[in-house]
């Protein structure tokens, strides 16, 4: 067991005018995740703390928060990483409106998916076959959990209209555009271009903090652009 100092950003709109930081000294195991730590904190120190939680294993996308300034999944982050400094600052995701403590408003993020026709439009001539190579190409994009980290980690200012369109929507567009079963196909690339999504600045080295390592700069954007050029 080690002792750590957890500073948690608290905000309850029913009586707080601004967020503030609350500190808790906690005994934790290095093998614990930050999500475990938050659950222990709620169980043993302060039951009023609000944070989203579900799968514990990085597949549901519920528990994205900012940990020492970096947007990540609490359930995928081990206490061991902070064993040296023993200071763990947990805050809500940036670029999202805070609803309470670590809980942010996901509705805008999720709604922006609707812009890209986020479902397969089945080709009438689909015969029930596709190649494993085609599956492989789409698989990574299919891993997106809609956790919101790509939006939080992006460098678009909140006022910029492009901020309404998030990288996850681009991933969904990619996932559908290159599915051989899809009737829209390359039309989807035109759609995201017309929405201005392709101009979204993305650091070529960065993967926007994606826990699934979806490669926006190396795969998603260039392949959509190539499809446009090929018509």
């Amino acid at each position: 067991m080690i002792e750590v100092m957890v500073s948690l950003t608290r905000f309850d709109p029913s009586h707080d005018t601004a967020p503030y930081s609350q500190r808790y000294a906690m005994e934790v195991r290095e093998s614990q995740t930050i999500l475990d730590l938050l659950m222990d904190l709620a169980a043993d120190h302060d039951p009023t703390v609000a944070f989203r939680r579900a799968c514990r294993s990085g597949i549901c996308g519920s528990c994205a928060v900012s940990i020492n300034g970096v947007p990540r999944l609490a359930c995928e982050t081990l206490v061991a990483e902070f064993a040296e400094h023993r200071e763990i600052a947990i805050a809500p995701l940036p670029h999202f409106r805070v609803l309470k403590d670590l809980v942010v408003d996901m509705d805008g993020f999720l709604d922006s998916l609707r812009n890209v026709v986020p479902w397969l439009v089945l080709r009438p001539d689909y015969q029930g076959r596709m190649s494993q190579a085609e599956v492989r190409r789409l698989e990574k994009a299919g891993e997106c959990t809609l956790c919101g980290i790509c939006q939080a980690d992006g460098d678009i200012a909140d006022g910029d209209p492009r901020a309404r369109l998030n990288p996850a929507a681009l991933v969904k567009a990619f996932r559908m555009a290159f599915d051989p079963r899809d009737a829209l196909g390359v039309e989807r690339a035109k759609l995201v271009r017309d929405l201005g999504l392709l101009e979204r600045p993305i650091d070529p080295a960065g993967k926007l903090g994606c826990p699934k390592l979806i490669d926006f700069a190396g795969q998603i954007l260039p392949e959509l652009k190539r499809a446009l050029e090929a018509g």
């Binding site: 294993s57 597949i59 986020p118 190649s131």
Partner: protein, 556 residues
């Protein structure tokens, strides 16, 4: 008051499938405790069974399922499940699910435990995630209204007829009464009753407990599935697909110990058996640190592991620092699934009129005493669709039920009296104790004396639960309140599970009594039915449907 033809509770695979079907003809809404894509269906890894391989057949899949159920599954329901399996898969495929493919481009299938053929259709080891997102896309396409982060608090049942529900909008903390012609519960399982579980933190048996309190019958609740391979430490699921692809189970002598217990099926014996075998190895000193055995994938090679088991590889590395390409994974059994649930027929209809159920919260019963890997996702699709269809049909033939605001007022009064200033036990601490009791005394191996102890401890905690009062806090995102309510659901269900386990003096499927180690068909080839009373569950026998396969010895 909100009004719908069909109200679906839960947005996992069963709930969304039901809503999609019902929305073809009815006005439908879904309420869900979490955003749909957060649902626990997404954590399923291995695959979805269907007998679509050349040499496979409906009969073979049926027989495997019946035998896997230790003959407790209802064969009429199993026939429906398997007969409609292929259609369920192709439907999902046309909705965009990214199944892995065979060289000829058709859907690939992998072997699972207790199955005579490879019949698990899969998307690497992210099958549940892929299916969940495919259904969510269809929900968006059909514009089915979803109320995310709404928690079911009670059903509106009057004179044996369901007329809607009362829910809490978690974002505001406001209570809402929803009036509906039919309600479909698809609320999943109760894994949080156990310390060692693969389940997420949301699975507290809400729907099961609420239906039970309102007069529905729970059945076969003592049958709790313990998955053989969960990560040592966190009990996060390690897919049966890992053994389906050829993984070995090894004890501390490096032996593939399954050879001694199931020489033919080896690691791919059914889950109940494999979990018991692992526990025996550990108990007899052939485990590691008296806690776990090894799941060895090294011989499968890096390419296969990265391609077909990427999530398994990630999970072991992240949580245990084990690279499965180079090292064996430490695993132990953990609670995974509820075979039992709300008793229903093959259309999802229950003892409460106009209340239907589907998925893990339901008991049709297609899994009997032990579920086969790959059959649960199938169940969600087949019976979710059926429940949705029947819910819409029933709704089409009736007027909106008469009700008033009384159900909401009743729930509001109960909440107000609980939130009157902190007093009594800390619910989180009771919750921890319950989970220990269930894991240690109502687990893989059970014994009469220990079950009696467990029951008396549970009853004690039930009394203490009644004395708990919570802070008068703000209502938005009040997890203190939801945790408290969930503990109440679990306490009711744990009592039914433990009392059913004590009553059933035999061993069958996942229910193993060390003091009654044999299956006893003369006395116990029956379902356990539980009905609510203020003094505890009334337990009775119910008949099992046996149409084709008479009970036989169950060797693997």
């Amino acid at each position: 008051m909100l009004t719908y033809d069909v109200l679906v509770v839960g947005a996992g695979l069963a709930g969304m499938r039901a809503a999609l079907e019902a929305s073809r003809t009815a006005q439908v809404a879904i309420i869900s405790k979490v955003y749909p894509t957060r649902s626990h269906s997404g954590a399923a890894q291995g695959g979805i069974n269907a007998p679509i391989g050349e040499d496979d057949s409906v009969e073979s899949h049926m027989f495997d399922t019946v035998k896997g159920s230790d003959y407790l599954g209802d064969q009429d329901a199993i026939e429906v499940l398997i007969t409609e399996a292929a259609e369920a898969i192709y439907e999902l495929e046309r909705w965009g699910m990214l199944f892995d493919r065979r060289p000829d481009g058709r859907i690939a299938q992998r072997p699972f435990g207790g199955a005579g053929f490879p019949r698990g259709c899969y998307a690497a080891d992210l099958s549940g995630h892929a299916a969940l997102h495919a259904l969510y896309e269809q929900i968006l396409r059909r514009s089915v209204r979803v109320y995310p982060e709404w928690m079911l608090l009670d059903l509106d049942v009057q004179d044996g007829v369901c007329r809607g529900a009362v829910a809490m909008d978690f974002q505001s903390g406001r209570l809402e009464q929803i009036r509906a012609k039919t309600v479909v519960l698809a609320t999943g399982g109760y894994g949080r009753a156990f310390r060692k579980t693969t389940n997420d933190v949301v699975n507290n048996g809400d729907g099961m407990a609420i239906a039970y309190r309102n007069g529905a019958t729970l059945s076969d609740m003592e049958f709790v599935q313990f998955h053989p391979t969960t990560l040592y430490g966190t009990n996060i699921l390690i897919s049966e697909g890992a053994r389906g692809e050829g993984g070995y189970l090894l004890n501390n002598r490096g032996e593939r110990f399954m050879a001694r217990y199931a020489p033919k099926f080896m690691e791919l014996a059914p889950r109940d058996m494999v979990s018991r075998c692992i526990m025996m190895e550990i108990k007899e000193g052939r485990g590691f640190e008296n806690e776990y055995v090894w799941l060895d994938l090294r011989h499968l090679g890096e390419d296969l592991i990265r391609e077909r088991l990427p999530q398994v590889h990630d999970l072991a590395l992240r949580y245990n620092g084990v690279d499965a390409i180079k090292e064996p994974i430490p695993i132990q059994p953990g609670q995974h699934y509820s075979m039992g649930g709300i008793r229903c027929d093959v259309w999802g209809e229950t003892a409460i009129r106009n209340l239907l159920v589907a998925g893990e919260c339901a008991n049709v019963s297609v899994h009997g005493a032990n579920r086969l890997g790959g059959n649960s996702l199938l169940e969600t699709l087949v019976f979710g669709k059926r429940a949705g269809r029947r819910a819409a049909e029933v709704a089409a033939g009736m007027d909106l039920p008469r009700t008033d605001g009384e159900p909401l007022r009743r729930v509001q009064a109960a909440i107000d009296s609980v939130m009157s200033g902190r007093a009594g036990d800390n619910p989180a601490h009771i919750s921890r104790r319950i989970r220990d009791i269930m894991t240690d005394k109502v687990g893989v191996f059970r014994e009469g004396g220990e079950l009696e102890e467990a029951i008396s401890e549970l009853m004690n905690f039930k009394d203490r639960y009644a004395g708990i009062r919570l802070d008068r806090g703000s209502m938005a995102f009040n997890y203190q309140l939801s945790d408290y309510l969930e503990l109440g659901f679990l306490l009711d269900l744990c009592e039914v599970i433990a009392k059913g386990a004590l009553r059933r003096t035999e061993s069958r499927g996942a229910h193993y009594r060390t003091d009654f180690p044999e299956r006893d068909d003369r006395r116990w080839l029956v379902h356990t039915l539980a009905r609510y009373s203020p003094d505890g569950p009334i337990l009775e026998d119910g008949p099992v449907s046996i149409t084709r396969y008479p009970p036989a010895a169950r060797g693997y």
